[in-house]
Amino acid sequence: MATKDTLFRSASMSLTQLYISNEIGREVVSALGELGVTQFRDLNSETSAFQRTFTKEIRRLDNIERQLRYFKSQMEKANIEMRSHWDFDEDMLAAPQAAEIDELADRSEQLEQRVKNLNESYETLKKREMELTEWRWVLKEAGSFFDRAHGQTDDIRQSLDDDDAPLLRNAEAEEGRRPNGDVGQQQQSFAVMNIGFVSGVIPRERLAAFERILWRTLRGNLYMNQSEIPEVIINPEDNEEVRKNVFVIFAHGKEIIAKIRKISESLGADLYNVDENSDLRRDQIHEVNTRLSDLASVLRNTKNTLDAELTQIARSLAAWLIVIKKEKAVYNALNMCSYDQARKTLIAEAWCPTNSLPQIRATLQDVNDRAGLSVPTIVNQIKTNKTPPTYNKTNKFTEGFQTIINAYGTAKYQEVNPGLYTIVTFPFLFAVMFGDFGHGFLMFMAACAMIYWEKPLSRSKQDELFSMAFYGRYIMLMMGTYSMFTGLIYNDVFSKGFTAFESAWEYPEDGRPEVTAHLKGSYRYPFGIDWAWHGSDNDLLFSNSFKMKLSILMGWCHMTYALMFSLTNARHFKSKIDIWGNFVPGLLFFQAIFGYLTFTIVYKWSVDWYAEGRNPPSLLNMLIQMFLSPGTVAEGDQLYPGQATVQVLLVLIAVINVPILLLLKPLYLRWEHNRTAAKGYRGIGDTSHVTHALDDDDDEEGDTRHMNGRPSTDTDEGAMITENIHEEEGEEFEFSEVMIHQTIHTIEFCLNCVSHTASYLRLWALSLAHQQLSVVLWNMTLGNAFTMSGGLQIVMLVVTFAMWFVLTIAVLCVMEGTSAMLHSLRLHWVEAMSKHFIGEGIPFEPFSFKLLLEEDPVD
């Protein structure tokens, strides 16, 4: 089985059992993760996630990961860039020793504490700062209220005589009536008068509600003053900007003051003490200012310390994240292994490519040597009737193409992989629709640029559309290359033609401007379409007929090619009945109708009808008449002598092959089943009994061993069954099911021969549309500018060139390109792959750190 693995088939896989000494289990699995070619099977599928052996370790790692993510979020908050994981050496990201993990755990614990403390104190300080700022505003604003109030005492006195003067004013006036201009005395007077006041700040949007509520509850017995704080206050808890107002409320009586306090607190206002006395107030302001400046310096220090700490962490955070991620993956993999308590061994079962086995053995040996263990790790191939997973090893060139195929379905283990031929056929069919040298060249250049700057681009952040184009850069490269070729064949470069060779046509000089060209002789234009057709009146007539036939012929080639792989598959799986019951009748049916059609197309082209003095017959009518009235060909419609007989024969072949396709395989399978049943055999697949072929040296100890808590009862050979592999894979033979399946297949195949051939006409439609669109674009923009003259032409040339170029890129390259790509995709998935693709495979998902980090990047 040591054949080379190629993209033609999926790699041959082996199920292996690994007996790993308990002490080095972690190291072994981690080495396998670096290697990335093994897929562990879950041997404890009955056990829930909490009951597994290494749940504790995983919890611990989860905690570390959470701490690391906390650092990351803190860094984002502080706008500190994390050092990219690309900047680290390979060995820094390698799986670490257990001790290093412990160290990392301690360290991140400490750092988390530190960062948390710093953060907390920073927030407290910030809050303190906000309070002080608010207080300063209150002092300032409230102070001006007081000053104003005292300045107005004279006015208030005059209002004394009014009956309806409010209570407060009255009282104030009463107080003001004292013949005393002394400000200090007046300030004392509020307290004397039993007028209290409440001052504070409140968010601006709540102010209206606040006022209303106060007014209603106190029935108007208050005097309120408020003013806006011009600066924005930032709430440190959620970093939100709040606009606030300062208010001072004067009211009479202790109870009312208490009520006001309660109301304002419940509405989210913050109350601050302000002294009535203006000297005291000045002192207060002064004190607040000093405290604020002290606080600011402390804040700056704290912030600096925090930033320094975070910057320090940022330098190695990516590496830590990767290390933890790897470690977690290792323990998750270890959880899939079964654990033998008595012998202190871990038993793992894994799928791996047979060709990688030596590599795996070498790696394990290496780990063993490094650990200095005398007990070797045993790698044991086991035979199984389980379906191995499908693994097609790709490189960066083939990856995109294989993804196209995998998007449709996973190929059956070792069947022909359509990914190999897709490398050519997919971009080629695209190019048939996209055929224009100029557009192809633009696409080619774009792909080249993406390949040239592959590394920097793959490491940078990309938006969705670009990342898709970037992923398919090699597909684009091939598409561009073939588009240039088909562009040369169609002789189209931005809708104009090349005149590389001498034309086979000559336009006579007489009778111009309206002339019809004639052939120069037996010379024909050697490569692509003659440029004499460009700009002619019946250009479309010619390219229409040409492209229609081209697409039929291309479709026939593609489908026949794909159909041949069903032969390859049948031979590989050694299923003769699939050759004689599926492939041969299918092929004959298809060729009898559509093979014949392609033959007549080529034949009609190769006959010089006018030289023979005959009219070229219509092929469409021929095909219809072949079925409607077999055996008769009208005199004028004959392609070649003996046509009627050949066509009758072909129709017969096609008709006979339908029942063969329908019945041969089910009947054969039934016969075979009955024969084996008569000989007394039972179905295949129920005799599998997998025992590990361990050389008996360590089998003598104890009979009853416990595997996953289940006693293994099979003691005669000392063999253990790590997992019951008794799931039946060979199913019961049921004739009706086989028959139904084959009937569906037959109907589908015959109808699809017709509909799929018709489906290839999309090549015709899209390539015509693409060509016409680019002609129209040229004529509307640059073509117009060329007809002008003088200075206007110069201006218009610049303007229309810009328009033409932008539209060429946006519409003709991007939009048309996408649509042609989707059509080509469909031709592969439906028309080609349905001819041979079996599918139903299980994708190979190796345990690989590289894949893990690609799927879930740390930065």
């Binding site: 057709w533 036939k549 030289a611």
Partner: protein
Amino acid sequence: MANGWSLLVGFVVIVALSAAAYFFSPKGENQTIWRSTLILSFASCYIMWAITFLAQWHPLIEPKMSKLRPGYPGGS
């Protein structure tokens, strides 16, 4: 220069190129990809070229121009 025999000549050239691609593909794990891609490309390109050549071999219609200036060979 170019007549019906070109189809055969082209075929021979393509077969020769394919053979060269088969034998001179770089060895290693990507040999199959090289071989398959090159040979399939040659074949596809040949088919496309041959179809185009065949379509113009015995033309059934002639190009017509309604606005051709004197002395101008046509095409655009």
